[in-house]
């Protein structure tokens, strides 16, 4: 029998903590039965009315959430309760009188450990279990018993109890390592939070030191989550389950924690009660990781607040923050360990070594000793490259980088997440791989040259240069080597013009595998697609197309010919053509993730999750235009025509800040401006064309009902040879 009435009786006076049970019960009462009642009260009459099936579904979902892992109040109570139970039941280790009492008794430490652990967990879990029953009674009393799902209940119960164990033993470990209550609590919170925050700060620092570090490629989330039972608990709650693949690992982790807690309990010297740290050997093991964590966090914070340089020293704030954080943490740790404010002086040698090591590591990273930033795989080593351009011909305007929006964006209606980026394409030919590597090398060289200019120049020189627009191009690269390794790099905001990598771009845009990655629309099943919008940038009527009954009728429309024509046209585009010619419109498609069943109404479709594709239309898309005509869309004006225009007004901001308006109303001037400018709507689709944003034109049409279009002068019009004059 585990529990004798008079020794560690969990609910008795001698050794038990009845108030732990009482507080847990009250907390769980609000987290379960009360919360259940509040959430379900709106569905009280769910069986009345025609929507009862739908309401039943919703209630079942709510019940799954309430009784599963996703119940946030239960998570909070369980987490807090587990920590409190550990601190309370093992607090005796920090009290000299209690240690003398208990350790003199003929009760083995092993038995003491198991009894106290069992008593603590039973106090908490019995409170949870009783309230679970009360909550179930509430559900049945509200007439929703038929929607009860035992699987959700068991799953939630198992999940909460599992993480309760993990948190409990973490807190027990912390209590055994320290000899004071407040330090036990502090160390517990450190164990729970230090891992994710340290990993986050390392990730941020890596991005800071290594511009080519492609952070998103690396799954930092997993180590961050697994470094803290609390973080893992929160993730599992968000997913409302512990993934089956993780269950064994979690069980193993808990077993390790429990074993470590037991071993420490057996080895813990009784005289540690009242001391800061129970095990002298643990002092450096706690001090230096805490100092390193503090150094990382403070370095990141000061870098964020202070910027890249301190008194002209690059990464000055980072270095300063790291040193100050490390020194402070070491000194504070020594003061805590020794219980004496003068204690810091006695460990200066260790502190000096730590600081030197920290500075050395930071400097190694600042100066990229390993050559990480400059690394480019050899073409013969590379099996394929996945490349994604991030900002093609981006420009700096008023001190800010301006990224042109990609010409493909996906709207996931359920996630409300718009991806503003180019799609990723794969290059698996020798030519393509060589082109990607060549681009990376040029981008690296351009970045290095920029850094040298910044270092050699003044602070003003390092800022925006005299030329108003300076092209910046970047890309993300994922190399798959022939030996199976994957190497991810990014090169962003390299001051390079597209003409400098024109040859490479031409090779890349001729790669079928790359184009497949760019235009994923054409990999979707046609039956899941609907034509959502046809836009002509110049045609005032294009907005009307969205409301046209012909346009909205999706039944009977076979989009396959249009898609085939569109794919052929768009994949034949070359960078050179895109530099010379601007798109005149766009086509937008919806791709329904769940597919479309025959007979589904528009309203039902609107409720579904879908991806949204918008691709540009160029004047050369003859096949596409023909297919659109076949669908009945032929009366579209694709470009501004001089004969339709009354006048064009130029609005210009000068270097001295003056703004002027100039009116052009002769046909020659109008024609000239139309030739040397592009309509503004095209900018989000074709980043190869550079424009002058300080000069924009408003086109006033003869048709008074027609809205004005906006145009920008091209910096590099096709007939000007790059003069930029217009």
């Amino acid at each position: 029998m585990i529990f004798k009435p008079s020794s560690c009786n969990p609910l008795g006076r001698a050794g038990g903590k009845p108030w732990v049970f009482a507080c847990s019960f009250v907390a769980y009462f609000f987290a379960l039965p009360v919360f259940c009642a509040l959430r379900l009260q709106e569905y009280l009459h769910w069986q009345n009315g025609a929507e009862s099936a739908l309401a039943g579904q919703k209630i079942a979902g709510v019940l799954q959430e309430l009784f599963g892992l996703a119940n946030a109040p239960v998570l909070i109570v369980t987490a807090a309760g587990s920590l409190m139970a550990a601190w309370v039941y093992f607090a005796y280790l920090n009290d000299k009188k209690q240690v003398d009492f208990y350790h003199a008794l003929p009760i083995s430490r092993r038995k003491m450990f198991f009894r106290r652990s069992a008593a603590a967990l039973l106090s908490l879990w019995s409170a949870y279990g009783l309230n679970l029953l009360l909550a179930a009674a509430v559900v049945y009393a509200m007439g929703m018993g038929s929607l009860w799902q035992w699987s959700a209940v068991w799953s939630g119960l198992a999940g909460h109890l599992t993480f309760s164990l993990a948190l409990f033993f973490t807190a027990v470990l912390a209590t055994e390592l320290t000899g004071m209550h407040i330090l036990s609590a502090a160390l517990t919170l450190f164990f729970l939070g230090a891992g994710p925050s340290a990993i986050w700060s390392v990730r941020q620092l890596a991005s800071c030191f290594y511009p080519s570090y492609y952070a998103d490629f690396y799954n930092w989330q997993a180590p961050a989550l697994w470094s803290s039972p609390l973080a893992r608990y929160i993730l599992a709650a968000g997913e409302n389950q512990i993934p089956p693949a993780d269950r064994l690992w979690i069980a193993g982790g808990i077993a390790l924690l429990a074993l470590a807690a037991l071993l420490l309990h057996l080895r813990r010297p009784s005289e540690a009660a009242g001391r800061s740290i129970a095990f002298p050997l643990a002092e450096p093991l706690l001090k230096y990781p805490a100092a390193l964590w503090t150094a990382l966090i403070l370095a990141m914070l000061l870098q964020e607040i202070g910027g890249q340089t301190l008194a002209g020293l690059p990464y000055g704030w980072l270095l300063f923050g790291a040193l100050i954080g490390g020194v402070l943490a070491c000194q504070v740790a020594e003061i805590i360990f020794q219980g004496d404010f003068k204690a810091g002086k006695s460990h200066l040698r260790g502190l000096a070594v730590f600081c030197l090591a920290l500075v050395a590591v930071i400097l190694m990273n600042i100066f990229d000793i390993t050559g990480f930033n400059r690394f480019v795989p050899a073409p013969e080593q590379t099996a394929q490259v996945q490349i994604r351009f991030d900002g093609v011909n981006d420009y700096v305007y008023d001190g800010y980088y301006v990224t042109n929006m990609s010409y493909e964006y996906n709207t996931d209606a359920s996630a409300q997440n718009i991806r503003r980026e180019f799609a990723q394409g794969t290059l698996d030919t020798e030519e393509g791989i060589a082109a990607a590597i060549s681009i990376q090398k040029k981008l690296i060289d351009a970045e290095q040259a920029q850094k040298i200019r910044e270092r050699q120049g003044t602070a003003e020189d390092a800022a925006i240069e005299a030329e108003p627009y300076h092209s910046y191009t970047g890309c993300y690269l994922l190399y798959t080597l022939k030996d199976g390794r994957q190497i991810a790099r990014k090169c962003v905001y390299a001051p390079i013009r597209l003409t400098d990598i024109a040859e490479e771009l031409d090779v890349i845009f001729r790669s079928d595998s790359f184009l497949d990655g760019q235009y994923t629309l054409f990999q979707q099943a046609p039956q899941n697609l609907r034509l959502d919008d046809i836009a002509s940038f110049a045609d005032y009527r294009y907005n009307q197309w969205k409301n046209d009954p012909l346009f909205l009728k999706w039944r009977g429309r076979d989009l396959a010919p249009l898609l085939t024509a569109f794919e052929a046209d768009i994949k034949s585009l070359t960078p050179d053509y895109m530099r010379q010619n601007a798109p005149v419109g766009s086509l937008s498609f919806r791709c329904y993730v769940q597919g479309i069943e025959d007979g589904a109404s528009l309203e039902q479709l609107n409720g579904q999750t879908y991806a949204y594709y918008t691709y540009p239309l160029y004047p050369c898309f003859s096949q596409t235009l023909a297919a659109l005509a076949d669908l009945g869309y032929e009366d579209i004006i694709w470009q501004d025509r001089p004969e339709d225009i009354r006048r064009i007004v130029l609005y210009q901001t000068h270097e001295d800040g003056r703004e002027t308006e100039t009116v052009y109303d002769t046909s020659e001037e109008i024609e000239r401006i139309l030739d040397a400018s592009v309509i503004s709507d095209m900018l989000q689709f074709d980043p190869f064309i550079e424009v002058d944003y300080d000069r924009y034109y408003t086109v006033k049409h003869l048709d008074q009902d027609r809205y004005d279009t906006t145009r920008y002068g091209r910096l590099d019009p096709p007939d000007a040879g790059g003069s930029g004059n217009h």
Binding site: S7, A14, G15, F101, A104, L105, P106, R109, E271
Partner: protein, 299 residues
């Protein structure tokens, strides 16, 4: 029997016990005396299995104590500041002790409570320091275990209670062969009850001896001489202490009592009386032999 061999215990840089070896026979009271910080409490906690020795051994009847439940079920420890459960009453503590110590005599405990006018249903937190100490002693005695350790047990007790506790210990020793190890910084307190004494100083055991043996061979004499005498007058006799107050001389000799009387009478004292030797006086002699100034050990 309790036996320690080369027992060492340190707390950081502080050496609390340094190679302490002692044998304490069963069925008696061993008094452990020493100044503050001598290591008495540490020694008792090692005997109780609370502390793990850094080196050396602590054994009871040939079995090590630390983490040995069988051995620990035969001993009980009374701390200098005893612990009771929060908001507990003597009755509840009795219940707990009964669960831990199989031979706990509840009836006897309740009888003691009544005799000492301690309310079994009253919260211990409301007791005075002395009452708490009394309760702790009673709980320990009623466990009926063969070994009892008390750290500054008499501290906080009134003179009447001290006498009562001493007589209880004596009864237990006589009735069931209890072996008690009691620590104190007060020699006089232990004199009445102990039959074996040990002196700790700075972690080391200066001496450990039977009280009778300690006192045996020591004789205290008070005499009045008609003339002035000096210590050299007693050459050939082992004079360990010589004090003069006017014509009254108080001397301590080592040796055969009759021989000492005979040789003193040869000096024709006006008055002479043989007095009992106190423990303190015996200690003074023994420590001086060991090269220590006894007075400085306790100042």
């Amino acid at each position: 029997m309790i036996e320690t061999k080369d027992l060492c215990k340190s707390f950081g840089d502080l050496k609390a016990l340094d190679h302490v070896s002692v044998s304490i026979r069963s069925g008696g009271v061993f008094g452990l005396v020493g100044s503050n910080g001598a290591g008495k409490s540490t020694f008792l906690r090692l005997l109780s299995g609370i502390y793990r020795p850094d080196s050396g051994s602590v054994e009871i009847d040939g079995k090590r104590v630390y983490e040995n439940q069988a051995v620990k079920s035969r001993l009980v420890f009374i701390a200098d500041d005893p612990y009771f459960f929060p908001n507990a009453t003597p009755r509840e503590m009795e219940e707990y002790y009964r669960g831990v110590y199989a031979a706990f005599d509840g009836q006897r405990f309740r009888k003691f409570l009544t005799a000492l006018d301690l309310d079994a249903g009253r919260k211990i937190s409301a007791f005075s320091k002395g009452m708490k100490k009394q309760l702790a002693v009673l709980l320990a005695l009623c466990t009926n275990v063969p070994y009892l350790y008390g750290d500054e047990t008499m501290d906080g007790l009134d003179p009447v209670m001290r006498r009562a506790v001493k007589s209880l210990f004596a009864e237990e020793v006589a009735a069931r062969g209890l072996t008690a190890v009691l620590s104190s910084h007060n020699l006089r307190e232990l004199e009445d009850i102990c039959d074996h004494i040990g002196l700790l100083h700075r972690g080391g055991l200066l001496l450990a001896q039977e009280l009778d043996e300690l006192k045996s061979g020591l004789h205290k004499v008070q005499a009045v001489f008609p003339y002035t005498v000096y210590p050299k007058a007693f050459e050939g006799m082992q004079l360990t202490s010589f004090k003069q107050s006017g014509r009254m001389y108080t001397m301590i000799f080592r040796g055969d009592g009759e021989e000492i009387r005979r040789r003193l009478e040869e000096k024709e004292p006006v008055y002479m009386e043989m007095l009992p030797v106190s423990l303190e006086e015996a200690f003074i002699y023994e420590t001086e032999v060991a090269g220590y100034d006894f007075q400085t050990l306790f100042l």
